[in-house]
């Protein structure tokens, strides 16, 4: 669907599909790095961390 939407649509193009919901079933391993949301350290958003599985 993702690719079809990307190629067929003329008004709205999907650049990334349901990337998040697909992680729910296989996620939660806890191997990813710790992130710090505090501005005095890194104010990292979790979303910019890589998955390390």
């Amino acid at each position: 669907m993702d690719n079809n939407t990307k190629t067929q649509n003329t008004h709205i193009k999907t650049v990334t599909g349901a990337s998040l919901k697909e992680t729910a079933e296989k996620g939660g391993c806890g191997k990813c790095r710790t992130s710090c949301q505090s501005a005095c350290k890194t104010s990292c958003t979790v979303a910019n961390q890589p998955c390390e599985r």
Partner: protein, 465 residues
């Protein structure tokens, strides 16, 4: 029916299940729950102000039309998704305290700078007044490493970051902790990742070589332009620190080539004094630094002269937009930390429910060996969790943080950015609202975060287009 009422009934843009914004002539649409990101034309962008899910349940539109395209995305779960559709909340409700995976070691509460905005000035350069050493002993540091191993369960990769104060002022403790961990990691079946955050004053060739050999990440503090840096980051003699560190930083980065140990950021702070902070990013790039982070200052009170206030937001937004345009056009070749985002991957949704994991998967250790949920809670008796030799024994605090997630925070469930920022900083919430679970999506901190996210999403969406 009044115009206002009609508008109310026909507009369904609930921020939690659809977010749209335009930037530099592009129109972006985000479906937060599914993670989908779309680039729209003006017609589709505007039409999203008028449609709502109940329309799509009744009418599919004419094939090939703008409405029809939105209808198909809705039917595929890529527009107006609800978290409940994917049952994300069940992961939060079953959240339990987790093994420890990271420690922040405050090896020194001394510092050789007197930064005007230091978030830790309640304890940095103050500890000696309390009759305690302001430096962590080698023995305490080793016990902290043992604590990390002991509490880590089956986790193999463990993180320890050396923080302060200024950690280079306790260099013997830093190297003793690292050497102790390296000497035992095979026996323990663990792999350590070390990070150090330094102001650079005490860097020399030996320390640079050691850091580049042992620290998988290194954060070098510098605020950008010399005039900006020196105003807020003076040494104890009142003179600015820029000239004292710049060549050392360049040397460290140039010799940082060991595979797996190349991560290194020059990290600065912007304040009300430099609301034109894009100039500082540009200056750091001009100086040759490729990985740059410039963060908004954390101020204990709004009336402090350097504090970011609401009236500063328009100017700050323009700075982020300027950085977006410069980086997008490659006129500025820099890896700006806050614009990094992996739209196709990144952490799983379960990880995104709880952010940093402070007090649960991540703890901080003060020089005395006392344990706190993170560096922001250090030396706050309310959050004292135990000591390195036996703790953490305050299990209730650990359980509290395990249950602190986007669905237990006040504004986060209705915010489009919930799966990107994961509820923000618990310590900031505690500092402002005396409650880690209180958030305000219209706070200055959240609004800056959302602006950065929009720029990051836009930049990376255009790359994928």
């Amino acid at each position: 029916m009044t115009g206002a009422k009609a508008k109310q009934e026909h507009t369904c843009l609930k921020e939690s299940n659809l977010h749209k914004f335009s930037l530099a002539g592009n129109y972006f649409v985000i479906d937060p729950a599914s993670g989908a990101v779309h680039i729209a034309d003006k017609q589709a962008f505007d039409l999203l102000d008028k449609v709502k899910p109940s329309f799509f349940e009744r009418y599919s539109g004419i094939d090939g039309g703008c409405y029809s395209e939105l209808y198909n995305l809705y039917k595929d779960g890529l527009l107006f998704s609800e978290d409940s559709r994917y049952n994300y909340q069940s992961y939060a409700e079953t959240a339990v305290d987790a093994p420890l995976k990271a420690l922040c070691l405050h090896v020194s509460h001394d510092c050789n700078l007197k930064c005007e905005y230091c978030f830790a000035d309640s304890f940095v350069n103050q500890a000696e007044c309390c009759g305690e050493s302001s430096q962590m002993s080698v023995e305490t540091a080793k016990q902290a490493i043992e604590l990390l191993v002991r509490e880590s369960g089956e986790r193999v990769v463990l993180e320890a970051d050396f923080f302060g104060g200024e950690p280079l002022m306790a260099w013997e403790t830093v190297t003793a902790a690292v050497d102790y961990a390296r000497a035992n990691e095979s026996k323990w079946g663990k792999t350590f990742r070390f990070t150090i955050t330094t102001n650079g004053l005490l860097l020399d060739d030996d320390k640079i070589a050691y850091i580049n050999e042992q620290m998988s990440n290194c954060v070098l503090s510098l605020d950008g332009r010399k005039s900006v840096n020196d105003r807020v980051r003076p040494a104890h003699n009142g003179k600015g620190s820029f000239d004292l560190v710049i060549d050392k930083y360049k040397k460290l980065i140039q010799s940082r080539t060991k595979p797996g140990f190349t991560d290194c950021y020059v990290r600065g702070t912007f304040t009300a004094y430099n609301l034109d902070f894009s100039e500082d990013v540009i200056e750091l790039a001009r100086l040759g630094f490729e990985n740059v982070s410039i963060e908004p200052v954390t101020a204990a009170a709004d009336d402090l002269p350097y504090a970011i206030r609401r009236e500063h937001l328009p100017q700050i937004y323009k700075q982020y937009e300027r950085l977006f345009r410069l980086i997008k056009s490659r006129r500025l070749k820099v890896n700006f930390f806050h614009f990094n985002i992996d739209l196709k991957g990144g952490p799983c949704v379960i990880r995104r429910l709880r952010g940093c994991g402070c007090g649960n998967e991540y703890l901080a250790v003060a020089p005395s060996g006392r344990i706190y949920p993170c560096h922001r809670f250090a030396e706050n008796d309310r959050w004292h969790m135990g000591g390195v030799s036996i703790g953490p024994h305050e299990i209730d605090i650990k359980k509290y943080f395990a249950k602190t997630h986007i669905y237990s925070k006040t504004d986060c469930p209705d915010c489009w950015a919930r799966f990107y920022c994961s509820g923000g900083c618990n310590a900031s919430s505690y500092e402002v609202y005396s409650d880690c679970r209180v958030t305000a999506s219209d706070s200055v901190e959240c609004l800056m975060m959302k602006k950065r996210l929009e720029c990051a999403i836009a930049l990376n969406a255009l790359k994928l287009k």
